[in-house]
């Protein structure tokens, strides 16, 4: 595409609970829109081909790789990034438990890992270990060996369920 000009696109969507409207390039990926245009660098760029899950965000409640989505595709959608899951400065129970159970080492995979777990918890009340593993199978971690991550998610499920009972 040498001769023709790129036509900027204007998109409106919900981002972490607030309505936003941005103008951006038509060939921009959601990942780049979040990081470069909106300054939300919690979403990480890893492999950029949909294998590592570091760039996972939620689109309409579903975990997706933001490196595999164009900015234009999210017009009208509801997006949640890692910056959007804490509540008034208080960490989400998943974040608390990742810290508590030593699930974070270098930390690069963690935003994606937490959002995949978050998506699971919002659809299933009591997922078992296999379901947890399946939910995070698209998130690679090269530090922890996953054990502590799975522990942290399990404890969060227990806590959330206890709270609902009491």
């Amino acid at each position: 595409m040498k001769s023709k000009l790129l036509k900027k696109i204007r998109i409106k969507f919900r981002l972490n609970g607030s309505q936003v409207e941005v103008e951006t390039k038509p060939n921009k990926r959601l990942l780049d829109l979040l990081r470069d245009d909106l300054g939300l660098t919690g979403t990480k760029e890893g492999c950029s081909i949909g294998e590592c899950g570091a760039c996972t965000v939620l689109v309409n409640g579903k975990a997706v790789n933001s490196c595999l989505v164009l900015a234009g595709e999210i017009d009208g959608a509801d997006i949640i990034t890692i910056e959007g899951i804490a509540n008034n400065g208080e960490l989400h129970p998943l974040q608390e438990n990742f810290l508590k159970y030593g699930a974070v080492q270098c930390g690069f995979c963690i935003p994606g890992m937490i959002l995949s777990a978050y998506a699971l918890l919002s659809t299933k009340r009591n997922p078992d270990e296999e379901e947890i593993k399946e939910a995070i199978a698209g998130n690679l971690c090269r530090c922890t060996g996953y054990k502590q991550i799975i522990e942290a998610i399990k404890h969060t499920i227990e806590e959330v369920n206890e709270k609902q009972v009491s």
Binding site: P26, S48, E51, K62, V64, N65, G72, E73, A137, G138
Partner: protein, 289 residues
Amino acid sequence: MIQKFNYVAPKSLNSALKILSENKKAKILAGGTDIIPGFHIGSRRFADTELIVDIKKIQNLHSIKERKDFVEIGACVTFSELSENEIIRKYFPLLAKASETIGSVQIRNRATVVGNFVNNAPCADSVPPLLVYDAKIQIQSLKKVREISLQKFLIKPYTTALKKGEIVTKIIIPKPDENFVGDFYKLGRRRAVAISRISLAVLMKKSNDLIDEIRIASGAVTPIGTRLYELEKFAKNKLASSDTFKELAIKLGEKVLEITGLRWSSEYKLPVLQQVFYHLLEKVNQNEK
């Protein structure tokens, strides 16, 4: 930054078809899980793209509809939607199983089953199940609507019968005779986010102990997903027994060798292929209705 192109998301099929007919360098985007990383790695397959036509805003491409004798799957139905759908699980369990094994949650939430075979990679996991279910597809252009069997649509790796200006709008799969039993097998290097090394689909119908009809399709070990009609013909009316299955497994090895030629990996891959196929046939046979 990935290569330059413009982006449009038409709301009706007609306007999408119009845009496609007017732009020779336009590419259709549904799930985007092949094309967007393709841009990122600078794939030559997508290098001349000047316009992306996102078809997800077209409402009637998103549904799975049950009709009297067949089921329709729209072009924008994702693997997550497919594997969770009760109609698909009931009539096409092999397709549901294949859908569950694709990529990861994140991939399945975006990737579409139609995109899987329009991309036509040798390893496309949904293709062997769709082939054994005798799937047809509907293709639309501004001028006409045509239907073609999936097997005929798939020409060679990354090449299909889709012409410029056309969109695959849906898959049409006849409901199989309820006496069919079957299974889908996939071998990857790891469990998730794995490119298939071997994929196989088998549907079998017996009368007494004889094989009344068997449908066999392979993926990844053949250049594209393929029905193995010679094997199917060979098995017809034979006893559904270990001996027949062994013969079929040997024949599959020979057939794959004939199609692909001798490769550096053949020495270890063929025995593995024959073994997993044999076990799959035994499993299907024990799973009788």
